[in-house]
Structure formats: C-alpha cells, structure tokens
C-alpha cells in the first residue's frame, strides 16, 4: 500500500512559474559530449577543452578573437537582401529573411569590419552560418565586392572567413553570379598586389569554395573543418560507395595540396598577424 496517492494526474504548474536552469550556463561539446561552463568554453575561444573540437561561431566572435580591443569598425551594415524572384518554398523568401534577421540579429550571412590585428590595419569579411546556412546571395557578394573596394582605396590587406553551405538557392542565377562577381573583383586586389588570405571554417562548401574561398594568396583553414565542392551525401549517392574517413576535412585538403596550412583557433590571431606581416616587410 502506498503512503501517498496521486490525487490529480499530470503537471499543473503554469509555464510562467516553471523553474529551470538559466539558458547558456553550460556547454556540451557536440563531438565528445563533455560538459563545461559556457564561460570556460568562451575563454577557450569556443574550442572544446577536452577534444579540441572547434565549435561553429559567428562573425561577432571572430571579430572579438581577431581585432585588437576597441579598434574594429563595421562597414556596409546597411545592405539587405531583395526578393527579386518572388521565391516561395515552404515559406516565402521574404518571410525567411525576416525570420532569420529576427533570430540572429544579423542583416545577412556576412559582416565586414575594418580594424587592427596586432597593431596592423586590415579588412575582415566574415560569414555567419546561422543566417540561412551562411548561403551566398547578392548581399554577401556585394559586401565582398565593397570590402575589396575599401582595401583598394585604403591600401589594406583582406581576410575573408568562409562558413557556408554554398550559393543561396532562393536567389537562383543572381546568387550564381556572385561567384563570378567576387572572383572578378579579386583580380583587382591581385593587380594592386594587396594580400588576401582566405580562412575556411566548418563548413565551407559549394559555390563559396568554388569561388573566393579557394582564391586566397594563402588558403588556410581551422582544424577538422568540412571543405568541399559537392556535399558528402551527393557524392555518396553518385559513386554508390562509402566515403573514406576524414574525406573533405581540412587535413584531407592539406594532404592533397589545396591548403597552405591549418591553424588552431587559439593561434589564429598571432599566426594570421605573422603571415600578413611577411607581406608588409
């Protein structure tokens, strides 16, 4: 016989009175499942203290890691996407843009800033995967184009940090032409002999890899990032066999000769500073 009997079934506490652990106090590594505090994770530059897994972070975080404190100034923040095609899938593209803007607090999948890295000025254009998979539409293309113009005008080096699923389907041929646009503009930077370093992070695929991301004077990557042209699922379906371990990782690309080096996030600022310094001296 039970001492206590349940008189009413279910949970009756109002949602508003619900008590829970505050959001964002703990971080669980998505690779090794080790739990740490968010603060410890952040202090380690969002790299797992146990397994070295580099968590996907956004442009704000990269700006914080790379720029000397208080030197960064954002550029071209006024550009927003236009739904020229009137594209609708499960929801309209207009709505998708609004939802993404609200969810991420960003205007589109790229932010550009100018500032100092170890005392030297440069322009950094960084993609945000949280905004429609970091897809490249007209705004991303235009921001890169303007970032290059800014470099040309002020004689500054350029760093582009890629993190993208590829071209943005909802802008169809317009997004395709951003591959052409960014590559064409990079020829001007090359002609002016201004250095451009491309940093590829997890993931960098499709039209982004097949344009500006592979066109750096130096191509570098974070460890263990997925980098490729076609996605692993598409390749698997095409060739109908399993893909080898480590296929399309940074280490794979380094081995096949498509990267200059792999840089751990904790050394990122210093090593990039050192590389840019070589072009100055």
């Amino acid at each position: 016989m039970n001492w206590f009997r349940r008189v009413t079934q279910g949970i009756h506490t109002q949602m508003s009175e619900r008590k829970e652990v505050p959001d964002g106090l703990w971080h669980r590594c998505s690779q090794c499942k080790t739990t740490t505090t968010t603060r410890a994770h952040k202090n380690n530059l969002w790299v797992c203290t146990n397994c070295d897994y580099h968590s996907r972070i956004g442009s704000e975080e990269y700006f914080e890691i790379l720029f000397d404190k208080g030197t960064a100034r954002k550029l071209f923040g006024n550009l927003i996407a236009k739904d020229t095609l009137d594209f609708t899938d499960s929801i309209s593209y207009k709505k998708r843009l609004q939802q993404s803007q609200k969810k991420t607090g960003l205007d589109d999948a790229m932010q550009v800033a100018v500032g100092k890295l170890n005392g030297s000025e440069l322009v950094v254009a960084c993609m945000d995967f949280s905004f429609i998979g970091g897809s490249m539409g007209v705004v991303v293309g235009e921001k890169i184009s303007r970032a290059i113009d800014h470099c040309l005008e002020h004689h500054l080096p350029l760093l582009i940090i890629s993190k993208s699923g590829g071209a943005r389907m909802m802008e169809s041929a317009f997004s395709l032409m951003q591959m052409a646009k960014t590559s064409a503009k990079l020829t001007l930077l090359a002609e002016a002999k201004l250095p451009y370093i491309s940093l590829m992070t997890d993931p960098t695929t499709g039209g982004v890899t097949a344009s500006f991301a592979m066109l750096g004077d130096l191509n570098v990557a974070e460890p263990n990032a997925l980098i490729g042209f076609a996605g692993p699922r598409v390749i698997k379906e095409t060739i109908r066999r399993d893909l080898p371990d480590g296929f399309q990782t940074s280490e794979f690309l380094l081995e096949h000769g498509f990267l200059d080096k792999i840089i751990h996030r904790k050394q990122l600022k210093d090593q990039l500073g050192q590389l840019f310094a070589h072009f100055r001296q």
Binding site: N78, A173, M177, A180, K181, I235
Partner: protein
Amino acid sequence: MVFLDFEQPIEELTERIARVKEIGNTEKVDVSKTIVELEQKLVLAKQRVYKNLSRWQRVQLSRHPERPYTLYYIQQMFDNFVELHGDRQVADDKAIVGGLASLNGKSVMVIGHQKGTDTKSRQYRNFGMANPEGYRKALRLMHLAEKFDKPVICFIDTPGAYPGLEAEERGQAEAIARNLFEMSRLPVPIICVIIGEGASGGALGIGIGDRILMLENTWYSVISPESCSSILWHTWEHKEKAAEALRLTPQDMLQFKLIDEIVQEPFGGAHHDPAQTAATLKNTIEKYLTDLLVLNKKTLVSQRIQKFSTMGEFAQK
C-alpha cells in the same frame, strides 16, 4: 524523331500523316487533300505547344536527346578545327573539348562541354559533367589563346560539374574558382553561349565572358530543378514547381540583365533544324566579335569586370 511528353499531339499528327502517305503510295489513291488538312492541323498543334512553353518544358527541350552539342556546332560554324587534348597534369577530360578553329579565316579558340549521343558515348563523355582536369584543360587553352591573341568562344551545356570522390581529391572547387578568376582578366575577347543546360558552377566554370548568349530553349541556374526540388520538398516530384521558382529560362535571364541576348531556335527546338540553329548562332557570334575586337585590352577587361560586378539587386536600410 524523339517526342517529349508534352509534344504528344504533334507526335500523333506526324504519325497520321506518315500513315496516310503510305496508304496513298501503296493503294494508289489520291490522299493529297487529307494530307493538306492534316498538315494544317499539325501547324496549329505546333503553335499551341511551342508558343506557350512552361519553364519545365524548356528544361526538357534543353535535354532533348537529339539536340546538337558542342562538336556539332564547331563542325558547322568553323573551318580547320584541330582538337587539342589534356590539362598537362592529370588527364584528358572527355566532358570538355577544345581546340583551334577558323571563323571566316581568322583563328579562334573554341571550348565547350560535350555530351554523348548514345549510351556508350554518353558514358565516355561522362554526361557532360567535367572533372577538375576539364576545367584545367579549358584554362590551359585560354592561356594559349591569350599568348597568341586569339578570341575565345565557349559553348556551355552541362548538368553540373562531376560530384565524384576523385574530383574532390583533385580540387574541383579550386579548378572552377581559378577559371572564374583567370577568365575575368583574360586580355582577349570571350563569348559564352549556353547551348543546352547551364547548371551552376559547372557551367560558370567556362562561363565568364564579355558577352553571354543563350539559345532559346536552354536554362541557367544555381541548381537543377530536380536538386532544388529534392532539397526544398525532399522529393524530385516537384521539379516543375522548382523550375518555375528558379526563373531559369533565357527570357528570365535577359529580364534580370544577366545575359546579353537570346538566340532564336527553329520552331520546336534546335534539333528540328540543327544547321539553321548553327547558322543563326554563327551570325550572332560574328556580330559581337566584331564589336569586341575593336576594344583595347584594358578596356575589354575592365568592362568585363564591371559587367559582373554590377550583377544582382539589393535593398538599403
């Protein structure tokens, strides 16, 4: 002739005309009146079908098995074609062909995707899907054209760059990116023509030029309608819907100012009269080449970069 699903009324009438003609021959009866009637009906049926093509139907026409491919156009439009092979690094890609040819007595470099015409040759050409070697062969030929000051003409017709394991190992993305970069600044005139399918980076990899033309029944998009459908709706069934949403026809592209001109095809598609298609295309290419050859190299390149730099509309806050 192979008929597509939406061409069924035309197929039926064509067959009836053939049957009536046969009866006329064997039975020695006068069928001329019936034939005239049927042929009038055929003209009307053709108008009904071809004047209101949906976007998906144009995609189907662009893939018609009897449609002419790059090597056909080269044979028709140019003299003294010498095919040149290999990227000097890994292999000779059969999905992209190229070489020197004469256009009205002047040498040019022609490059294009090549598809096969039967099962065996389709496999040999890898269905027009190039590996990195193909793009690198194209680039080698373009640099050769640059060295000897020859214009470049590219024919685009691909369902996409090949998504294979070795293609990734040998840097498919790098090969395409490099072509976009180098073609942007190549100091000779480049004319690109979409003659069939223009799928994504695989098409763009030989698609940067001073003038971009599209044949009437072709498409150009960041993704094929089938792949778009499978990503958005998790099935290939909605390809018609995807084709509409992607706005991928030459008319769409011209309206968006992403191409320079639509080249008319014979009624019903290029395969109805390939020679006529080649003749029209030759005229158009000659016209643009004359315009481009008078420009000095610096102007040519800076206009080309400017052309691609202004593509795409955006809003400002």
